[in-house]
Structures are given as structure tokens and as C-alpha cells.
Symmetry: D2
Subunit: 293 residues, 4 copies
């Protein structure tokens, strides 16, 4: 049994070899936010971390997102890191994935409500409203397979073919190994979404390979696998749950803290604002706040 997490950072932390081959690793602290960049450079790195080749940036804050200064630092760090991963110009399609009616999976759809869609603001309207230097942004909340009957990947492929963006950003709720990371950590990656990851276990890959344009995935952990939680504690006492017959993975649920509503609302807003700021450098944070609130 291996613990379950969608964070590259937690996979790295779990390795016995702190510097495996094929993996680069850098850490910096910025206004209270820890920024860890992990680059998986080749197949050796892929095997070591069990994740596809690419860059994974993790933003961590020490405490739940109740501190206004910290929220602001996190938003800025997210915006800065996103700019590095995105092409510098061209239209961007942002998709908030997940099921709006299951709170821990609702990060994507809730973030989508705070995105500033601009693709339709052009020509006369742009001139009159003073919005004449906007980067074109389209925003979608495509729903989940059980509601739509269509794989999310399939909807995105169709829309990408229709509107030809320069890049796609997908927002999704993740699972973490630690309760303390829920709602306090953000992961950005240029590898898109892997099959089977995320809270709702979305099935199909969403990436440069499948969409034909760069795909940046932004995720926030909102659940912990119950089996992982217990196994970690047993492990710290030298007990290997894989050897224990009464420890059956199936008997566990994904758990989330009691305060999940607040945690999702805050994280969705930070992620949406981080994206808005990265995509519209000609507008101030204050202007964007008023446009999407």
C-alpha cells in the first residue's frame, strides 16, 4: 500500500533518497509563502515520483487562509508563478473542473464564478468601456461526467478546437496526504491533469498531448484519504499497515475538515484572483477585485 496524494511535493518528501536522479528541486520563501519548484526531467524522475515529466510548483502557507496579508501574498505568488508557465500572449481558456454540488469537489466551479472573462470584450465595446488592452480569456465550468454524459476532456477538446486558445488553465480540487495542507497549499503544473487524480477521480488525461496546446493545472488539496491518514500514524510507530489483515483500504473514506465550506470559498477566490492578475497585467488588483466580486 502506498499513501495517496496528488501533490508532487508530498511524493518527493516521502522518498528515502532526498535527491533522486532526474528530479530538480528548489525552495524559496516569499512574504510568508514557501515556493517549492520540482522539475521532473526524464524517465528516471518520472519513476521516482510517479508523476509525468514537467514542472510542479507548490505554494504553501503556514496556517489556514484567515490572515488577509497571507491571502494577498499567496495570490501574488500564484500570479507570478503562473506567468512563468503561461505563453506570454494569446487567448487563454480557463476551466473550473469538478462537481458543484459536492463541496470538496466544488473548487473549480466556484473559482470559475470569480474569473474575469474578456474574450467577448472587443471592438466598439472595448473602446467605450476603456478595456482596450485586455488579454482574451474564456471561462467554463463544464460539469462532471455523471451530470453531462460527456467526459470533461471531450468537452475541453471540442471547445479548444472551436476557439483555438494559446493555452488552457484547468482548476481542480486535489487530495493531500496531510490534513494541515487542506486549503492552505496550491500546486501549479505544466503537465495538465493525469488520469485518476483529483477529488472526483476524473478519468481522462487533459494535457498538451490531448489538447494540442499547453495545459497548466492549478489545484488545491481539499480531501485526505482516510486510509492514508491512519497508515501514516501507524507507520510512525513502526507498524506496516500493508501487513495487517484488518487494514483494508476499501473501508475508508476521503475525509475533509468540518470547515470545508469556508476553506473552499477562500481557496476558490484566491485561485481565481491569482489567474485574473496573471492574465490582465494592465489592470490593478483592486480593479480586478471590483470586476469579479
Amino acid at each position: 500500500m502506498i499513501f495517496r496524494t496528488d501533490l508532487a511535493l508530498e511524493k518527493q518528501e516521502a522518498l528515502e533518497d532526498a535527491s533522486p536522479r532526474g528530479v530538480l528541486h528548489a525552495v524559496k520563501d516569499e512574504n510568508g509563502v514557501r515556493v517549492t519548484t520540482i522539475c521532473i526531467r526524464n524517465e528516471k524522475g518520472e519513476q521516482a515520483l510517479g508523476k509525468p515529466k514537467g514542472t510542479y510548483v507548490t505554494l504553501e502557507t503556514p496556517t489556514p487562509l484567515s490572515d488577509k496579508m497571507l491571502l494577498s501574498s499567496l495570490r501574488r505568488a500564484l500570479s507570478a508563478e503562473l506567468c512563468k508557465l503561461l505563453p506570454q500572449s494569446g487567448a487563454v481558456l480557463v476551466a473550473g473542473l469538478g462537481n458543484e454540488s459536492i463541496t470538496p469537489d466544488a473548487l473549480g466551479p466556484r473559482a470559475a464564478k470569480h474569473l474575469f472573462a474578456t474574450r467577448h470584450i472587443n471592438g466598439e465595446i472595448a473602446r467605450v468601456s476603456g478595456f482596450d488592452n485586455l488579454r482574451p480569456v474564456a471561462a467554463l465550468a463544464p460539469g462532471v461526467l455523471g451530470q453531462t454524459g460527456i467526459e470533461t476532456a471531450e468537452i475541453l477538446e471540442s471547445v479548444v478546437r472551436g476557439i483555438s486558445p494559446a493555452a488552457v488553465i484547468v482548476i481542480d480540487a486535489l487530495s493531500s496526504r496531510r490534513l494541515s495542507r487542506l486549503g492552505t497549499t496550491v500546486q501549479l503544473t505544466d503537465t495538465g491533469l493525469s488520469p485518476g487524480s483529483g477529488v472526483g477521480n476524473k478519468r481522462a488525461e487533459i494535457s498538451l498531448r490531448t489538447l494540442g496546446v499547453p495545459v497548466i493545472a492549478i489545484g488545491v488539496p481539499t480531501v485526505v484519504d482516510g486510509a492514508t491518514l491512519i497508515a501514516d500514524w501507524l507507520d510512525s510507530y513502526g507498524i506496516d499497515p500493508r501487513m495487517e489483515p484488518q487494514f483494508s483500504r476499501e473501508s475508508f473514506m476521503m475525509v475533509t475538515p468540518k470547515e470545508v465550506d469556508l476553506l473552499i470559498d477562500r481557496a476558490a477566490f484566491v485561485v481565481a484572483m491569482g489567474i485574473n492578475c496573471a492574465l490582465q497585467p494592465t489592470l490593478s488588483e483592486q480593479e480586478l477585485l471590483e470586476l469579479v466580486k
Copy 2:
């Protein structure tokens, strides 16, 4: 000034010539529901009614939808009329149009939540769950231009190209000339959506011509144009508001009754269930109710 309505029936009622050329008209009553079928057959008919060529079926109930029997009759009539307009087999894409956060425009998105999406239920899953004779249905709530930056028509074109359905059904809130029709009347048409109709004044055409497959539009009036309301009363006293300088169309709003929340919820549920029943003839109404509630 001409009064505003999205209902072919109200345009017909307003004509001085009760049987204009190029327009066929039939009425029947079924379990308390009046079913009026208007066929616009040629350009003469199009000019007379100001609507594109095609079939418009209007279902009217005498009172607000609080009577359970009547709700049930309406659902059945809707289902029966829809079957006549739809191709007999093949996948169907159903799209609930409108803005979920403006109640009178939320008919489409709310109906989408009660649709039974089945396109992904096949192979092993279908056999195991006993759902092995379902018609493939995909369901979407694509949002509105101001939220997404993409014309609804554009999203539907992309998805239609991606999943190749045999037909498309769009659900949308409409405007009516009379307060008494709000939430009590349903219009079905095989002409799809015309530019500029609907509560949110959706702009681009959605039809066989633009999507390449038959498009059935199902609408329920949820607003009345304030200017139309007043003009109708003035007209009944022989006053022509067009001649009156103080009567400026711009000074009016679209209005909706105080009970709009209940009205939209009931209408969305009836429309969704009417569609579910028409698309899944192998399931009983009771089975479908439990699947989508």
C-alpha cells in the same frame, strides 16, 4: 411600437386576420392542457408572424402550476409533443441556456440539473446497472456570454462537432405578453432559437442551419416587458402609446411576479421531466423521477 413576446401563439393572437396566408393553426385540449400547433409554412407566414418557418407548439394550463394532476398532464403533453419533433433514435444533446444567478433567466440551468444524462452509461456499467436500452443523452449548462466570454452558439457548435448528436434540445426562459402566462405556458419549436429572443437576449442563432442537426427549442415565459404590459392596457382604451411622447420604451423594465423562485423551480422540473420521459421510453415516469430528484 410593437408589443414584445417570444411566443408564436401571442403573435398569432394579435393579428387582425385570424387566418393569415402561410400559417396553419390547430387546437386541442388534453386533460386540462390546451395544445395549440401553429405551422408557419412559407415567407408569407413568416412575414405575418415575424418568426421563422417551422412548427410552434404551445402548451397552456389555466392556472399556476400548483395542481399536481395538472403538472402531470403538462409533463405528459410536453413529452408527447417533443417525441413528434425529435428524430426517433440517435444521441441527443440537451442544453439549459441562461444565467443561473438571475432567477428569471435560470430556467435552463435549473432544468439541466434534473436531466438524466446517459451517454456515458454503456458497456459493462450498463449491463451491471440494468440500464441497457437507454437512448444516449448528453446534458450541458453552458453559461452566458458575460460569464464565459464565448457565445453560447459557439460552445454548442463545438460540442456538436465533438459528440455528433442526432439532435439538439435547447431550454430557455422566454418573454410573454401576459403576466398570466408566466410559468404556466410551454412553447416547443423545431426552429431553434432566434437571435435576440429570450430573457437574457441571447444574440446568436441556434438552429439546424447553424448546428447542422435538428434543434428543438423548449421555452417557458418568465418575464413580461413592462412597456408591453402598459401599452396593452392603454390600447384597450383606444390610446396608442406610440403617439405619446411620455411613453418611452427605455423607461421600462422586464418584470416578473413576486413568486418567481417557485415558478422557475416548478417549470424547470416539468420541462426536464418531460424531456427525460420523451428520451427514455423504456423507463417509467416513476423510475425517472427517482433517478433525477
Copy 3:
């Protein structure tokens, strides 16, 4: 037939005699907000306006509440006028009346969500949190008779007896004669609530007489009576609808604009913040915004 309104200002405007006996009337403009104070001083005034003796302050803004500056002016004017009507010290019970699930009647319950309740912040907690000079405020959303089986007046009487506040503020949605006033006008009065007023036609009186402490009612019109709307237009053409057999009051609904959701949200927030500012003069507007948002 008399038109229907809950605003003293509209009753005054409708009088043929602009200065009836027993009624004082003053108007001023403050940063774009028109403040009209009407004092009904005796029975003569009560007969003229059909309202109980007392002070009615109406705050009007020229346009819907989309302008940030105007929202801010309205909040301040509301706060200033409320201070004049309230006792200067002592605990205050604020009650948001109405039915949360009928949007035009939801002003009170939604405002209650943005109130800063402070009655429980005292002793050690107050010292530690730095909140040591707060006026005690209790906040309730008691629901409506159909949901609770208890008259709102009865609940308030019980709670007033239990917690002995120095004054009560009730927030309620009102009806207006004009569509243009919906969501743009606020009425404050020291007469409390009259039987039969309000969107949900609350039945029992809530006032100094029934509660034993001063009752300030703050209301925002959110609906117009359809019959009033039509009758006003007919009247402007010299037609008296009372003489017309086809004009039956019963055939009309209360109507509200299509944008009712936005209108209620904005008005609820302005009213709540106006109350918060009036009750906590030791906190800045910015501090209060962050506490209740």
C-alpha cells in the same frame, strides 16, 4: 380603488393638498442622496396619509445601486438618519423579517447575514480581541408564519422580554408605487411595522405599543402591485380604473424586475452596513466591512 404603497413619501406625493394639516415635510440633498423627512404629528396627519403618527425618513438615489460612490453615500445617509431615531445607548435587537426562499421578500433575512452581532462579545473575550467598546447587538431572522407557525410579532415579543434591549430595529421588504424606486429607495420610520404592510403581508403590528421599546423599521421597496402600475398609467390619460368593470384588482400580481436577485443582494448589504455603522461608532467602515463580509 386606491394605489398601493408602503412608502409614506408616495402617499404624500399623491395628495392633492401638498401641505396637509398635521404633516411636516423637509427635503435635503446629500452627496447624491435625497433625504425626505415626513412627520405625521396628529390624527389629521394620520388621516391625510393613512399612516400612524411618527417620523418617516426616505432616502432616494437617482439610479439603481451600481455606482460604488452612491452606495457609499446611501450607507452613510442611512447610518446618520438611524442614529437620530435610535436611543443613544443600550442593547439593540435587529430582526431581518421575511421569507428567505421568496427572493423579493428575502431582504430581511439576507441583511441579517451581514449584521455584526456583538451581544456575546464581553468580558475576557472582548479584552483579548480588542473589542472592548462595542454596543451590544443581537441579530435574528425569525422566519415567517407559514414556516414557523408563530407570528413574527410573537417571536419578537418573547425575545424582547428575554433579552430586554433598549430598542428594536426591523428590516423588511416593502411595496412601492413605482418600478423606478425598487432597490433604490430606503425608508426609515420610528413607527415600526403596520399590520398588512410588506411584501409578504405580515399581519401583526410590531411597534413601541406592542414590544414596549422603541421600534425602528427600515424597509426597501422590492415589488410593485401590478394593479397600481396599470392604474397609474390609465389615470394619466384621465381614465379612472375604478369605473371600469374589466379592471379587477384580483387579476393582478405583485411584480418585480428581472434583476431582482442583484437588487436584493445590494440593498440587503447597504442596509446591514448602515445599521452596523450606526451601532458601532468606535469601528471604522473598513473594519466593519471585513467583519461581516
Copy 4:
């Protein structure tokens, strides 16, 4: 360190002595629902279970509440057990406690929305509507201290003094020791609410002693204390977490499963319908369903 639970049944299960003095214990199975009745008869029993003297009835279903038959069995069992604890006639006040905006604490307010309030249906209205044999029921969702500034106990005391019911029922979310009990177990007790129990840790006692009338508390566990979860596993390996310095209770959260929204909705509906059926024996389950849905 003692594990945390609000269920008498779990306290009993944890005892080394299966039949402590002062505690009676009976189990029966009814249509798939296990009904355990624990009577704490005296101080000895109070010390053994750490709960006040009285009757605790626990209804357990083997699986999450997705099975329609089981939901129905649970509803009936709840109704039958509630009838045994309630006085046979007289008005009843039902209060849904908790914070509506924190999902795991929202059981009470959500159940309150499905209660059939009848206290106001009398005289002419009752005769006309055919409801002439109803037991008077009042229903409240009083909110939480942080929102209202008033202790829930204080609001209930005031309202009880005002309307003089024969009994009070309070509905509240509880904590359990086991994830598998969340949303699948219901506890009824005639001891009311103890200080400090419940998901939101409501502080003041609500009981016959404080309200002066019998108080039945109905609770459903919706959270598990994280520390309890881990400690239980460690304990099963002979590790006593109380001896472990790294095991600090404070570092844990209350957790809830990912599906908390669905779980709360279902449990709230079952509890409300169980109460409705117990209080209105002259109406059928079907009639009540249509009245409150």
C-alpha cells in the same frame, strides 16, 4: 485522553464492564434498523457513561442512506421511538440548531425547512383546508451564538415562555467515534442537550431543567474528531496515545466525509419526516411528504 463522541451507545461500547450498574440496555432489530435503548437510571450509571440520567435510543442502519426501503424503515422507527418519549398531546416546539453555513453543522436548520408547522392553522382556515385535527407544531431555526449574539438556550427559553408548548424537540448534528456512523445513525434522548456537545460545541444546557418542559433531543453524527480516529487505530495496536508526546489533541480537526452534502440532506429529511409523522398521526406519510417537500 478519552475518545470523543456524543453517542451514549459508543460510550457504552467502550466500557470494559459490559453491564455497569445503573445502566439498562436493550437491543432489537426492525426492518433492517437496529434499535438500542440505553437507560441511565442513577448516579452510578451517570458516572459509568459520562452522560446525564435518562433514556437514549440509537437507531442504526448498516449502510449509508441510499437505499429507499431503509430510509423508509429508519423514518418509521424514528417516528415510533419519538412517540414513546413525547407527551401524547399539546403543542410542540421543534428547533433545528446549528449553523446553516457550515455544512456538517447544518443538520438542524435544514431539517427545520422540512417541518410541517401547524400552530397557526386553526379556526376558519383549518375548517376550510380540511386540517381540523392537527397537533399544534411550531418550528424554529434560531441560528448560532456567533450570528445572533444570543445563546440558543436563551432564545428557546424566551419562545417557550411565549408560546407555552407541552414539549420541545431539538435537532442537532453530533460527533461520533466512527466514520461509518456518520449519517447512518440517529440518537433520540429525553435528556435534551448537554453543554459542550454537538458539532458547533453549543455551550448552554437545553433540557427540562432549563426550559421547564420535556426536551427531546434528536441528533445525527456528522463529524468524527480526528484525534479520536487516530487514537482508536493506535489503541488497536496496543499503543496508548496518551503516553506519546507527539500526539497532541490540538493538532487535529473534526473530519467529515467528502460526501457530506448528500449525507446531511438525506439525514435532515429523514429526521424532519420522522418528526412530522410522529406529531401528525391523522395524516398519512404520503400526505406529509407532499406538504413539506
